[in-house]
């Protein structure tokens, strides 16, 4: 087990905050998820990559918001009443992440955990910490540190040439 998955079971006690993006359930460590708020007006920030939605005023603090759909190269979708923003804190920096639908909190056992499964060549596993299987549910556990790693600003001027990949689970 890697250092991050150790943290998942020891720091977060195996607790995940899970949400839907498209038809897939994703989870993040409860320790990293700080709060959930409804979708609010987002001020776009020029010269940023497409998945960077802009900034919001969260009780007087300006925090950036990214669209996980776009980050995972899934087709963009207008926010619905179910959409919400999950505020994630990594290394003391807050970022809001737009998700389609919030599911809730689950606790997983180390035995349910499977590290970075092989999902085939066309899926980017870089952002995935592992998977959890609970009855019929399959939860992809995200490695938020690499999802939110600061590679994004470097892509600013390259966004036009990024290919539009469609995640198979959508089809």
């Amino acid at each position: 087990m890697g250092e991050k998955s150790t943290q998942l079971f020891e720091g977060s006690g195996g607790k995940l905050l899970t949400f839907m993006i498209g038809s897939q359930e994703y989870g993040i460590q409860i320790l990293e998820a700080r709060e959930v708020v409804g979708v609010m007006p987002i001020e776009p920030v020029p010269q940023t990559p497409e998945f960077m939605m802009g900034v919001i005023n969260l009780r007087g603090n300006i925090i950036p918001v990214i669209d996980l759909r776009r980050k995972f190269n899934m087709p963009a979708q207008e926010a619905t009443t179910d959409s919400c923003i999950v505020k994630v804190d990594i290394h003391g920096h807050s970022t809001g992440c737009i998700v389609d639908f919030l599911v809730g909190v689950v606790t997983i056992d180390p035995k349910d955990f499977e590290k970075s499964p092989d999902l085939g060549a066309n899926i980017n596993t870089e952002f995935i910490l592992g998977m959890a299987k609970l009855d019929k549910r399959v939860i992809i556990i995200l490695d938020m540190e690499s999802v939110l790693s600061n590679g994004e600003l470097k892509q600013i001027h390259k966004k036009e040439i990024q290919p539009e990949l469609v995640e198979p689970s959508e089809g």
Partner: protein, 770 residues
């Protein structure tokens, strides 16, 4: 001796004395590390020779002693730092005596007395590990000289060291858990370095020595010569505790209370243990972290390791307490070895603190100049608050001011007939304003602390460069934001250095100007800004040379006619230097481009003015505070942006006939008072759908970037208001053209435009597309 021969002696000595003085200062400045001792030896030999031929037998003893120390330094029997501080203190007394001698008669009796005492002391220092190895060694420090107590230096020192030691302790505890945290060692090193430096500066040899020895060990750790084994931790914790006790003792001394002796023997004992452990392989320098790291990764509870260390700490504390008791008991009968350290402070003082008399004097002078007198004998109680909390507070207050101004400007409020509402609002406004001023005031400090650091440097530079410099300071009590204090020293130092090195002519080349060069530093408030001016009366900037260099480097594009101010701006380009010789003084440190960047990062501007033969002045204009600015709110499409008022020259909607096209593109420029101003379309740059595209329907905000006007095209100008700057966070750091964001009156976010990086980015794109 006759008058004449005195005079002759003075003349003979002038040159070697100057050289020796500058070598000693150089050695002192370089923390005595890379000093070439021959630089000190050679002029010293000359001086000795001169004394000898004049039959000045009184100095023979002292000279022999100094040779002995220098020899000890060379053979590493004594550290550079300690050795040189002895050399300096003896030599400074010799100089003083020589001066009195040249003028008339001198009384050598106190000097001989002093020499005897310092010799005894030095014998102890020479072999410090042997002399201090007794674990019962205690010390009562000397009361620092009154002048530095009065001007608050000691109080500052106590607070600073206290804070520093707190973090060192925290870091040590973390390091014990995880020795891989390399940055921590660097931090601890820096703290010890500061303690060593400052205590040397203020003349507190015991604290200095403990800091110095600890620094030595830390530097070995940094260089990988030593691992972080338990004896090293033991030593480092002892060092922290010893320093804390010494600081506590100093505090009692200054407050006029009884000072308990502090045990320093345990520290030197640990030091001895650590140092003797270098050679044998038993000391484990290679094996760094493995055991604990393994524990963590296999998922064993970390708590176990933690509690283990806690016990260790408790044990150590208990041991320390026991020692303290033992000390108290042991104190009355001092062991014969003991006075070694004590005498360093106590018996060595026929004059108050011979170690650094000049420094103390200059400090006193400075304090008088700066007018930062603090109550004598009082350790000001300081409250250390994380800067973040202050920032939060000032953000909130700023928002409150903004919210209130929106409320009072609300037409509905205006229409209210009840007069009481208006007077109550007025009252609320007054309270809010003074609250804001108070909160901002917490972050404000007099710029004098920066000035005093500069004056010491100027003194040293003036010695080194052989140019006599008069430094004039004014406005030292001008209050500026802490962030400015923290960042302004390096750019100011660079400008001052340039003035001394390149500006002020060498003596004899200054024409009919006074032989001593003048450098003046002036700080003052100008409306919402603070202006710091650095002026010298040197040779001025040579605009022809600068222009030639700029052309050579291809910085001048067309055959444009450049004003002197435009030309002076080239000196702030990266890597731009017209200096033919890179001197020791100006060859290091930050360049002029870094100066400009630092100033711009503080939202400030530099204005250069220079007259050939008369001198140069740099005016730095900085905002009073970096967290609240006056801004112009503009809109482009649905977005709103804020232009800092300091950057805005004017706003204008150009007439149709003033708009000019270029290369087939329409409306690229407009004429403003006969000058062609390029139009920068924000909607294009930021890819926003605008409401207006034609400049003669929209608003052009004219900004100055490097003395050149640019017109930023926006849809509409909304209003002017005070805004509280917030950073956009690490994720959006380094965005070109934007310096932050703010919460606007309706609760939405507005982005703050940074015209300088915006225009520079724009140029870059043009460059790329060509």
């Amino acid at each position: 001796m006759s008058e004449d021969s005195h005079h002759e002696l003075g003349e003979l000595l002038t040159l070697p004395r100057e050289r020796l003085r500058s070598s000693l200062l150089e050695a002192d400045l370089r923390e005595c590390r890379l000093t070439d001792l021959s630089d000190i030896m050679l002029p010293f030999d000359e001086i000795t020779e001169i004394y000898h031929t004049h039959g000045l037998v009184d100095f023979e003893d002292a000279i022999a002693f100094l040779y002995q120390i220098l020899g000890d330094i060379a053979t590493e029997h004594v550290s550079h730092y300690t050795g040189l501080s002895y050399v300096l203190s003896v030599y400074e007394l010799m100089e003083e005596l020589t001066d009195t001698l040249i003028e008339g008669e001198a009384d050598f009796a106190p000097f001989h007395l002093f020499l005897e005492k310092i010799k005894t002391t030095f014998k102890g220092v020479e072999n410090v590990t042997v002399a201090l190895a007794s674990p019962e060694q205690t010390i009562v420090q000397d009361l620092p000289p009154n002048d530095i107590i009065e001007d608050g230096s000691v109080s500052d020192f106590i607070n600073e060291v206290g804070d520093g030691l707190e973090t060192v302790e925290e870091y040590l505890l973390t390091l014990e858990q995880d020795p891989e945290q390399d940055g921590y060692i660097d931090h601890i090193f820096r703290v010890m370095h500061t303690i060593k430096g400052t205590s040397g500066f203020l003349g507190m040899p015991t604290i200095g020595k403990v800091g110095h020895k600890t620094e030595d060990v830390l530097s070995e750790i940094r260089d990988g010569k030593r691992g972080l084994d338990p004896p090293v931790f033991e030593l480092l914790f002892r060092s922290v505790d010893t320093l804390k006790n010494l600081i506590a003792q100093l505090t009692s001394l200054v407050q006029g209370q009884n000072a308990e002796p502090v045990n320093i023997g345990m520290f030197f004992r640990s030091l001895e243990l650590v140092q003797s452990g270098v050679e044998p392989p038993a000391a484990t320098p290679v094996q760094k972290a493995p055991p604990k790291a393994a524990e963590v990764s296999t998922g064993k509870p970390v708590a176990e390791a933690e509690s283990g260390d806690d016990d260790e700490m408790l044990d150590m504390e208990a041991a320390m307490a026991e020692e303290a008791e033992a000390d108290a008991l042991a104190h009355p009968e001092l062991t014969p070895k003991e006075p070694v350290a004590a005498s360093q402070n106590g018996e060595m003082s026929p004059k108050p603190h011979p170690a650094r008399p000049t420094v103390a004097e200059s400090q006193k002078k400075m304090a008088a100049q700066l007018g930062t007198g603090k109550a004598a004998g009082v350790i000001q109680e300081m409250l250390k608050v994380p800067a973040e909390r202050l920032d939060d507070l000032s953000n909130l207050v700023g928002e409150m001011v903004v919210a209130l101004s929106l409320l009072t400007q609300n037409p509905a409020v205006d229409e209210m007939v009840d007069r009481r509402v208006h007077s109550q609002l007025d009252h609320l406004e007054k309270i809010t304003e003074s609250l804001r001023d108070k909160v901002l005031g917490i972050r404000m400090f007099p710029i004098g602390s920066v000035f005093s650091k500069l004056s010491r440097q100027v003194r040293d530079l003036s010695q080194k460069s052989g140019k006599k410099i008069n430094l004039e300071l004014s406005g030292a009590d001008t209050l500026v934001d802490k962030s400015i204090i923290d960042n302004i020293y390096a750019p100011l130092m660079h400008l001052v250095r340039n003035s001394i090195d390149h500006g002020i002519e060498p003596p004899g080349e200054r024409g009919d100007k006074e032989s001593g060069g003048l450098v003046s530093l002036k700080a003052q408030h100008l409306g919402d800004a603070i202006e710091i001016e650095i002026r010298d009366d040197g040779q001025g900037l040579d605009s022809a040379t600068i222009l030639a260099k700029a052309q050579e480097r291809g910085l001048v594009k067309n055959r444009e006619t450049l004003s002197d101010k435009d030309i002076f701006n080239f000196i702030f380009m990266p890597g731009f230097s017209t200096a033919k010789v890179v001197t020791d003084i100006s060859g290091r440190g930050v360049g002029m481009d870094v100066v400009r960047k630092t100033i711009e990062a503080l939202r400030g501007k530099i204005e250069t003015d220079s007259t050939r033969g008369k001198g140069t002045s740099f005016k730095l204009r900085l905002p009073l505070t970096t967290s609240i600015i006056e801004g112009l709110v503009v809109s482009v499409g649905d977005s709103r942006f804020i232009m800092p008022i300091l950057d805005v020259l004017q706003t204008i909607t150009p007439e149709k006939q003033d708009l000019k096209g270029v290369q087939g593109k329409d409306e690229e420029f407009f004429l403003l008072a006969g000058e062609m101003v390029p139009i920068v379309r924000l909607y294009e740059l930021f890819q926003i759908t605008p409401k207006v595209t034609s400049p003669n329907n929209a608003v052009v905000v004219v900004v100055l970037v490097g003395n050149r006007p640019y017109g930023l095209l926006v849809d509409e100008m909304l209003h002017r208001q005070q805004i509280v700057i917030q950073q956009l966070g690490a994720r959006l750091k380094g965005l070109k053209g934007l310096s932050g964001g703010t919460i606007l009156g309706d609760g939405r976010v507005g982005l703050i435009i940074d015209p300088i990086s915006l225009i520079q980015e724009q140029h870059l794109h043009v460059g790329e597309s060509l």
